[in-house]
Each structure stands twice: as C-alpha cells, then as structure tokens.
C-alpha cells in the first residue's frame, strides 16, 4: 500500500489515509538519500559500438605481422592481403567469384526459406500436415545436410543445381524447426481471444498467427543465413570451377595465404552484413517486443 501511495504528497491526503486504516509505514520510514538501484540490463547502446570487436581483432593481426611475430607463410599480414585484394579486384577475379558465390547462397536461401516456411505453416496449422510433415523433418534435422552431399552429387551431378540444393536443404530445416516451434507455441489465451472476438480464419492468420510466429521466423532466418554460408563454403570446395571457395582452393595449391585470407574476409563480410540486415529487419518488424537488449 505504501508503494502505491509513495507519490502522494499532499499532507491532508496522507492524513486521511492514515485515519482510515492507519498506515504507519509511510510515516515511519526515515528520509534517505535517493539510491539508484544497480542496473541488471546491459545498459545504453553506443552508436557503432558493435564494430568494436572486429576492429580490435584486425588491429591485433596488424600489430602481430608488423612486429614479425606472424610468419607470412602461416598468415599474410593485412597489408599484403589488402594489396592482393586490390590485384584481384583489378583483374576482375574477386568480383566474378563473389558474384557467383552470392548467387548460389542467395538462391539456396530463397528456396530454403520458402520451403521451410511453407512446411512449417502446413504442419503448424493442420493436424494432417503435422502428422505428415513433422516426422520426416525431425529425422532430416538429425542428418546434417552436408552428409547428404554424396547422394546429392549422384542425383544431381556437380553443377549449380546440386550446390543450390545443398544450401537450400540446410536453410529449409532451420526455417522449419524455428517457425514451426513458434507457430505451435502461440499462446492459447490469444487463440481463445480470437475465438471470443469471432475472428474468421483469415483474420486469425493475419492478426494472431503470423505476428505471433515472427519471432521464431527471425531466429530461424538468422540461423538459416549462417547455414547458407556454411553450405556455400563446402560446395564451393568440392568440384567447383568458380566462386570464392574455388579461388581459395586454388590458392591452397600454390600456398598463397594472402588469397586465402581475402576469400575468408569476403565470406566474413558477407556473413556479417547479411546478419546485420536480418537484425535490422527484425528490429523493425518486431518493434512491439520489449526485451532485455532493447
């Protein structure tokens, strides 16, 4: 009671309350200096603060090779890597390879997301769908997509089709697991509300199911993006004749660690930017959520 009345300042009101029931706690507590509680959340955001870690990593690398601690045969320094990158850009190899890699990852991601979400909706919204779809996908989940590679090569050859399929398989499973979990985890009280307001099926989908399952969708999407890069790296180092992975594989034959590092950096930049993009979209779409990080 004293908590709810803490901001009542008028003395006559306090006296009235005390007269009614006698609230000694309000009067007895001695005046103390305002004490700010220890903050348990992570604190305020700093602009571009997210870049601190990567910048520090590069600085250490730079320092290590400048001081001669790092043998160039083990790992080339950032200067060498930069100039090699410049050469690769000027002769067009880097852009061509990156574009091909991006295309593979993008196509795999697209087909994987569409398939995964479609299966999750089928399994999440109908019993028959659940019985038909969920079992096989849970089994598939236990088998890494990359373990299917030999079979997929036999079925589809070593062309683009196989590469995109391998990536899409990994993506689809991630999308399915997370979207389905969040679809079936929609609060039954919200379903009851929808029933009491007599929402039709379409309104229920649009106002309750889709927004309710978006958090899981985004978790899935972030995992899926990561898995698409992972799939890409593997398929590009097996029987590829183009792409960043092929470029790195060739560099390995000639012990060009600078080229390998350029390839790694490109993969890293792709991964970082794609994750940042998904996060940005997620933050915008899920603006209604109040979480620890916000």
């Amino acid at each position: 009671m004293s908590g709810t009345l803490s901001d009542v300042r008028a003395p006559e009101t306090a006296a009235g309350a005390a007269g009614l029931r006698g609230t000694p706690s309000a009067a007895a507590s001695p005046p103390t200096a305002r004490r700010v509680r220890r903050r348990l959340g992570p604190g305020r955001r700093v602009p571009f603060g997210r870049l601190l870690g990567p910048v520090l990593l590069i600085a250490v690398w730079w320092a290590a090779s400048a001081l001669g601690v790092l043998d160039p045969r083990i790992l080339s320094g950032p200067g060498t890597v930069l100039s090699t990158a410049g050469d690769l850009v000027s002769d067009g190899r880097l852009q061509d390879s990156a574009l091909i890699s991006l295309q593979r990852a993008g196509l795999g991601l697209f087909f994987g997301v569409v398939t995964g979400v479609a299966l999750a909706v089928v399994a999440g919204l109908s019993r028959l769908g659940e019985y038909l779809v969920d079992g096989p996908l849970q089994i598939k989940r236990a088998i890494p997509s990359l373990a299917m590679l030999p079979l997929l090569i036999l079925w589809l050859g070593i062309g683009e089709q196989m590469k995109v399929t391998v990536i899409a398989l990994g993506v689809a499973v991630n999308m399915y697991i997370n979207t389905y979990a969040s679809l079936t985890g929609i609060d039954s009280r919200h379903v009851e509300l929808a029933e009491s307001l007599e929402l039709n099926r379409w309104q229920f989908l649009r106002k309750v199911v889709v927004p309710g399952s978006l958090p899981g969708f985004f978790v899935g999407l972030r995992l899926a993006v990561t898995s698409s890069w992972l799939g890409l790296i593997v398929v590009e180092q097996i029987n590829a004749t183009s792409g960043i992975g092929y470029m790195m594989f060739q560099a390995q034959q000639y012990a060009q660690t600078d080229v390998i590092v350029v390839g790694l950096v490109v993969y890293g930049v792709f991964g970082f930017l794609s994750d940042a993009l998904v996060r940005a979209v997620e933050g915008r779409v899920l603006a209604w959520r109040r979480t620890l990080a916000s």
Partner: protein, 314 residues
C-alpha cells in the same frame, strides 16, 4: 450462431437439443432488441451440465438473465464459475455436456488478464476483428470513454495494468454487446486501481446497459456492483440474492454489511470471532437475510473454515 460453433461432445441428442435452443436456430429471441417481447431473457440456461473427465462441474444448472441486468456470480475456487462463463461464451469446445443455452447475438467477454495482443497497437487491439467501416472511429471513441483518449498508437506493454484492463473493456464495449461476460476482470489489479475500475464499469454499464455476468470472488465487489448476486455451489446456483440498495453504494451502509454477511455465510466462510462477536451469539438464521431467496444449501449446515483472505478487513 457464430459464437457457438464449438460442438459439445455429449450425446448427439442433447447436443442437438442445445443447438436447437440457441437463438440462431429460430432467430426469435434476440434479447432486448427483439421488439414486442420485452420479457425475453438475455440469457437462459436450462439444465446445463458440463463434465470434465467424468466429474460434473455444472449439474443441471438453471440460470436466467434479464436484458440489461447486472449479475455477479460468486463461488469458491473450483465451484464452476469459469466453466459456466465459458459455456455461456461458447468457448468450451470439447467439453462434455448437455442442456439448453440461449444467448444473445452480440456477446463480449473480458478476461482476468487484459489479453491485448502485444504486436498490435492499442486501437488495433480494440477493433480487432471488426469489419465495420467506422471501426477506427468507434474504437477511438471507446478508448476515450475508458479514459485512454489519444493512446491509440501505444503498444500494450507501454500501459499500466489498470490501463490495459481499461483497454480490454473498450474492446468489449466497442462491439455494442447485449451481454458482457467478465471473468474476474479486476482480480489481477491493485486495490486502488480496482476501486477506480469498479466506478468505471458501473458507469459504462449505466450508459450502455448490456446484461452483465460478472464472475468474481470478491463479495464486496459483487454487492457493490450487481443488481443480483448468485452463489454457485456444487454445480448449481445455491443463492439468488437481489441487492436492493441505491446506486452509489457505500460499504459503510449497514444494509451493505448485511448483504455481505449473508453471502459470506452462503460461501461457507465463518467470520472470525474477533470481528463483532456480539452479532454472532444468536442462531445463525435469526437475522433474516435481506430480500434473500436462499435456494438450496442452508449456509448454517456447512461450517467450512475457509480462509477469509478475499474479504477486506476494513
């Protein structure tokens, strides 16, 4: 009748009977709007039975609500209050049962929690599912009516518990219900907010005049708000008590006290001896309950020693 699409899994014959009894089937009894039939009840439940796993929670319960009547339903935990409310709301899919139930066309339900969808802004929550052209205007008006004008674009989590519950009231009222069902709507609120909400609910009721079925476990709340207080016990209505007090009701009124005593007795709560022992020396039935029709169980014969924690001590 859209609100009763859920089939009951009782015997086919009784299920059919219950559906036939619903107003969608004959289109006749539509509560207060049905012209020429002034006496048609807003709600009529006849021999209502609901079972959970073989245990009957409602046992051939009969209940009638007149249009515009404000009824409070009291009962101990597990007495079937919520079961009855959910049956009337048509939300008891897959619950075994039988009986006949007539409810109006437009029924609004408010829950113990506000049940606002966290991803919809306040106005969109209020008009959720409305297909009417003026929905947004009406929603804004309803928000203003509950004291939330200008908060249309707020997210639910930005509101206090009391404000969320007021928004839920706006969502219930914007549909212009003939029957408002409220399942302990103030149970989760703090005492001060609850007092304000009582005033607001009564005020909104006076203005819109829906029939109200308020489920509560707070005897004072029931006596303060309702025209009639029912006590649900063992699956049936055991007490039907008309509260005949002038409407800004005060708990200091001695007759308020009498109603409260009667209801507490009916609920099997024996008041602690510390509280006015002199009033308890005579036989329990000596002080006749005011305007009461104690139907079934005699309160005196059930000396339950339940904790009186829902009874304000002031």
């Amino acid at each position: 009748m859209a609100s009763h699409t859920g089939e009951l899994t009782g015997s086919a014959a009784t299920a059919a009977a219950s559906r036939a009894g619903r107003p969608g089937a004959d289109g006749g009894s539509r509560g207060p709007v049905a012209g020429g039939r002034a006496a048609a009840p807003a709600v009529r439940a006849t021999r209502l039975v609901r079972r959970f796993g073989g245990r009957a929670v409602l046992k051939e319960l009969d209940l009638t609500l007149a249009p515009g009547e404000f009824i409070a339903l009291l009962g101990r935990s597990g007495s079937g209050k919520s079961t009855l409310l959910r049956a009337v709301a048509g939300l008891d899919h897959r619950v075994a049962g039988s009986g006949e139930l007539v409810v109006p066309e437009r029924v609004s339900l408010s829950f113990q929690d506000s049940r606002l969808l966290p991803w919809l802004r306040l106005l969109d929550n209020v008009i959720l599912g409305m297909r009417d052209r003026q929905a947004r205007q009406r929603g804004s008006a309803a928000l203003a009516e509950v004291g939330l004008e200008g908060r249309e674009k707020a997210w639910p989590h930005e509101l206090s518990g009391g404000e969320q519950q007021r928004a839920a009231l706006a969502r219930a009222l914007v549909r212009d219900p003939e029957l408002l069902l409220a399942d302990e709507p103030f149970g989760a609120l703090d005492a001060l907010t609850r007092i304000r909400m009582h005033g607001l609910l009564r005020e909104l009721y006076e203005r819109h005049r829906p029939a109200v079925l308020l489920v509560t476990h707070d005897v004072d709340e029931a006596v303060e708000l309702a025209d009639r207080v029912l006590v649900l016990e063992d699956g049936r209505i055991s007490v039907d008590l008309a509260v005949d007090l002038p409407t800004p009701r005060t708990r200091r009124d001695p007759r308020f006290e009498e109603y409260r005593e009667t209801l507490l007795k009916a609920l099997g709560v024996t008041a602690e001896p510390a509280q006015a022992p002199s009033a308890r020396t005579g036989p329990p039935q000596a002080a006749a309950p005011p305007a009461a029709a104690v139907l079934g169980v005699s309160p005196a014969s059930r000396p339950h020693k339940e904790k009186t924690r829902h009874v304000p001590q002031d």
